[in-house]
Amino acid sequence: MTYFADVAALARKDLLLELRSRDTLPAMLLFVISALVVFHFSLPSEASATASTGLLWIAILFTALLGLGRAFAAEREQRVLDGLVLAPCDRSAIWLAKAIGVLAFLGIAELVALPAYALFFEPVGWELVAAIVLADLGLAAVGTLLAAMAAASRARELLLPLLFLPLVIPVVVGGVGASVVDDPARYLGFLALYDLIFAILSWASFEYVVAE
């Protein structure tokens, strides 16, 4: 139980930091709306309706990337991450708390993005919403681990998209599939499988990323 108390303390701190500085979330919101507007101009009028679904997924992916790039910004200053790593709590609690924060920000950005998408392009069906919820879990899980990796390197911002994009191609396949085919169950199942596999892997390997 102390594990979840640790996670709660860490997640609460991230929320507090965001409320203080208001860096990440407004940027994500503005970015996702701007991206949708840009997509409107990049779609010729004869483009099919499914094309806009694909673009929505691109917007989600890059919004997540924007949030992830900032995920460890506060820890990078003054090596705070070292302070957390030395605490006697399980290191994976740091990952879980951070992933919850990323998930929350991404979810809030999508709460704004989806109505905007419905307004600008297409109505949003339940399959799309279900797919986005499942995809968010995977993006937050994998993304948080990779963000910690990128934060430990010299290249940082440059490295994160390179590490992130090849790994989340399956998420895009599952997400787009679930929103365009008639029987989305297989694709939703695939997303759930991805979440499960990569959440376990990230949870187990985070310790090695933040400590020697």
Partner: protein, 194 residues
Amino acid sequence: MIHARGLGRRFGSKRVLRDLDLEVSPGELLLVTGPNGSGKSTFLALLAGLLVPTEGSLAVDLPRGRIGYLAHEPLVYRELSALENLDLYGRLYHVRERRETIGALLERFGLWDARHQRVSSFSRGMQQRLALCRTLLHDPDLLLLDEPHSGLDVDAATLVDNLLSEVAGEKTLVLASHEPERLRRLASQDLALA
């Protein structure tokens, strides 16, 4: 409590520590001296468990929750207040009677009135004092202090000296300093790095 055999550490191709043999028993005070870049901070980070040796072996007979580590950086969030930072660490270290302990430490280090201010508005000396609070919060058995006097004014430095005399003999201490004279009388072992 600390056993090092042929301990060495390199960063890339740069070798910072080499061939260090050392035994520190409980209650001792080890004074680590040497010029800048001689590996004092690396040695303390190795003891804290932040770094692992690249050569030789190092054993510290304590779980990491019983170690207090004071680094160059205060290891606190700049955009949180002093109280919020200590509260977070208090929770992570599962400190009993967290509020009372934190209150007493803030009082002792003269930060009580500034407890709701963000760390980003703190002076260097205040940050160092907050870092000392963070280090002592969970009443560790082994204290690793990297330049504990740095950035402190005369009063605060005296405070640290008193604190060190108080805990010397009771806790195990490893102190890194480039002005070791004020600490030498307490030291039971000297480690000069070059």
